[in-house]
Homo-oligomer: 567 residues x 2
Amino acid sequence: MRTSQTLIPTLREDPGEAETVSHRLMLRAGLIRKVAAGIYTYLPLGLRIIRKVEQIIREEMNRAGAQELLMPIASPAELWKETGRWDYYGKELLRFKDRHERDFCLGPTHEEVITDLFRREVRSYRQLPVNFYQIQTKFRDEIRPRFGLMRGREFIMKDAYSFDVDEAGAKLSYQKMYDAYTRIFTRCGLTFRAVEADTGLIGGDVSHEFMVLAETGEATVVYTDKGAYAANLERAEVPPPADADPSPLRPLAPAATPQRRTVDEVTAFLKVSPRQLVKTLLYTAEKDTVAVLIRGDHEVNEVKVARLLGVNEIQLATPEKVKELTGAPPGFAGPVGLKVRILADHAVKGMKNFVVGANQPDTHYVDANLDRDFSVDRFADLRNAQAGDPSPRGDGALVVAKGIEVGQVFLLGTKYSQKMNATILDDQGKERLAIMGCYGIGVGRTAAAAIEQNHDERGIIWPYPIAPFHLHLLPVSQSEKTAQATAALYDALQAAGFEVLWDDREERAGVKFNDADLIGAPFQVVVGDKGLADGVVEIKVRRTGAKSRVAPAEIVNHLRALVSASA
Amino acid sequence: MRTSQTLIPTLREDPGEAETVSHRLMLRAGLIRKVAAGIYTYLPLGLRIIRKVEQIIREEMNRAGAQELLMPIASPAELWKETGRWDYYGKELLRFKDRHERDFCLGPTHEEVITDLFRREVRSYRQLPVNFYQIQTKFRDEIRPRFGLMRGREFIMKDAYSFDVDEAGAKLSYQKMYDAYTRIFTRCGLTFRAVEADTGLIGGDVSHEFMVLAETGEATVVYTDKGAYAANLERAEVPPPADADPSPLRPLAPAATPQRRTVDEVTAFLKVSPRQLVKTLLYTAEKDTVAVLIRGDHEVNEVKVARLLGVNEIQLATPEKVKELTGAPPGFAGPVGLKVRILADHAVKGMKNFVVGANQPDTHYVDANLDRDFSVDRFADLRNAQAGDPSPRGDGALVVAKGIEVGQVFLLGTKYSQKMNATILDDQGKERLAIMGCYGIGVGRTAAAAIEQNHDERGIIWPYPIAPFHLHLLPVSQSEKTAQATAALYDALQAAGFEVLWDDREERAGVKFNDADLIGAPFQVVVGDKGLADGVVEIKVRRTGAKSRVAPAEIVNHLRALVSASA
């Protein structure tokens, strides 16, 4: 494709609206433009990338035996009322009325619509398993859409739904999708981890998230180097420590800690390790307040605390509440004499002679001890896993990394089939609820994650399989000789199966080089009078910057070798 | 693909909801299912057809130099307010509010969004011409959605928008699209005509509709056999007749016509030809009433009358109004003594001694004459063209046919660029409004029109290029021998590039034949023990029913020959 005939409005300056690398580079490279908050137009280059990701997904879904269909964007309220999600789903579900005042929503996901199709069209276990998927535009009215395609309101998603006659079949369908997702993200050229995850709004029993590893990721994942265990931080289990501190108990003693509130301040002042302090955090959970005890060098995992308490979410108590319950400002709370329910992380159980707040201003206790000085109502796994923690599967130490969720698979069970009465006849002629799974991939988000993982200060470095073009052809002089050589190369490279973007603008070489690095095709082919005089053109590998000079007749073979080497 | 692994819920009975052939057959063949009024899920086979039409469109749009991009479905009100269409567009524009109470609509068309992109990203005449297109889901909240994909609310459309610096360029862009559309519908295997058309809600100066000819079509088109002139009925011009009746005038005389009101009743009773009668139709146009005179064998074209009067629409006057103005019930109105403005079709001008209503119950006049008995305020082209009428281009007689509009092209001019201030710098450095064109194809409607044009009483007969599968492979016995031969054929046919649907269900031959005829793959390959004993399988051409017996080793060549012959 010729640059002069394609809208590629590259920007030299960082656009003000962009907060993340991928958002900034997608705007700068002319891939997308904003129409409204969280709503974008995909420009020609952006659309090419989207289509490549879609095609990889499609091929692997088909290979896994899934059937492609296409459901509507407008979804009638009746179906959502059957499952209760019409009321339960928050404002992200964009509801509207048609001209006849009938209620609809813009589909943010399609469990209801597909389950309705299934119950009307599939009757017998003989037709199972089935897995229906679509690649379709979704709408979720995010309260604060941001980061470009990473958290948009209108976005393209692949969603799939499996139906099985029994649990064993459902697990197999789930595993097939897990395997397909692994192939998909591998084929996209991404470094990723599948991690155990919570099931959230979608529900169900088992779930994995597929996380593209990138320093700029919003999510934290932990895994073992050997890869046998991986989970997102919310979910990652921390086993109880094996050994307890064998020290003899010392008597409880108050210590003045004037204006020292944080773990760092208190332990530095008292000259002890943070491992020798127990933090006391007060949380409000619905109407109750609880105290959570956690070792000084650990962090509370609020999802775990909420799950233990059986509530949707918890909040840190207000300073006023802390004062009311402890008699002291925040920073000096402690378990000794505290009149609320006390939960403690497993790590606290083995500790001896530790520092806690004294529930008096500017005072801590040193040498506090469990049972003797206070009692704990419940010990549990309440903290975030940390690098170096032992794996809960006993397969080594955990590594921590940042990631971007690009896909998630759920074993749903009968959550939807029960509410919508989606049954099938089993081999005994008995009606059974279908066992479902659902499986999503954010298409645009996958492209954005690829950028977060593959860029440098000059621009994007596309993985070959999802690059908008394989090659950027850059004539750097305006001579007839260069023009002819470029045209011949363009034809030869396209005939060899390469997708070529030919920068045929009358621009300076520097402008072309900058745009090429920004747009990020894996290879650049530079054609100029100087090289041609020596019988060569220059090939630059975008990722490494490595350059080589090659005779035009050799270029196809040379590029094929480079592609093989980079795969 | 195997039938057992694909959802193809064929129906034996005609579904009650379907009114047209294509709607009925799309439901019966398991191509689509209704989710809500005018809103459908495309099942696997339906989606394959849609994708084939899309791909043909995409290839021809690209070949014509258009650039594919993708705009959002949710469209912010601000842009629509700039052009005035936020208020002007009726209830078909589905408006909604997001969680922050901002106004949006579901895009029924994208002139506003693309013009906004253009004005922000394109600056110079050097970047022109450009033509941006997308294949995207649209929503129009039709008051009475019907006929399946023919008039849905949510539907897939290819829409394109061209921008030029001057009229000459815009006409060239228009012609390129006209040519591309001609290639697209030809490649889809359809019989169609491009006809001159009105511009309606979209606006602009020049427009053509692409009509698939089918007896069941809603629209009427006229054209000359040689093909130089073609128009839809609303638009088709009728030149004034060349010659006038040379008869001498006879005196006006009343004639009793008891209970005879219609042209047929009156002319049969008076024993004259309908060509010798002038109908007088009273129309209400906004606040006025006018009379329209039209020869007895002609039909009023209300669009032409409305255009002449400069109003959006006209209605036949109520019986009460007719009585008030003529003193007689409907059926006896005439121009003699009538106190309203009188318009007459050109054909009336040359008539002599004709029959008209007498504005008295049960009475007509015979031998009425222009000027002597009444005067006409304006003669104009006010009737529908009819078969046999001379072409307005002088290239022969008109033919009339029914058609289905599948595409329309518009030369918009500056309608949108002016309101949205979409300017470019010309080669003198002067700002100019971009000259636009827009171009739409209904993707699902094209598939539906293909069915209306290609079916018989047993089902669909797909044109090869858009068939969901090229071949339907039908094993008709359950023997091991047949199973093996079928599996081998399946592999061989797919390896040869054919798309094969293998009916691997354990069903009777009759059921398989019925489904195959219903689904309508162009070719059926029947494999059975009897044939195999003779060393042959049977090939049936769906369109002609012609059958041939072919050795399995010959089948690929044989089918290729059949495909060539049918193309």
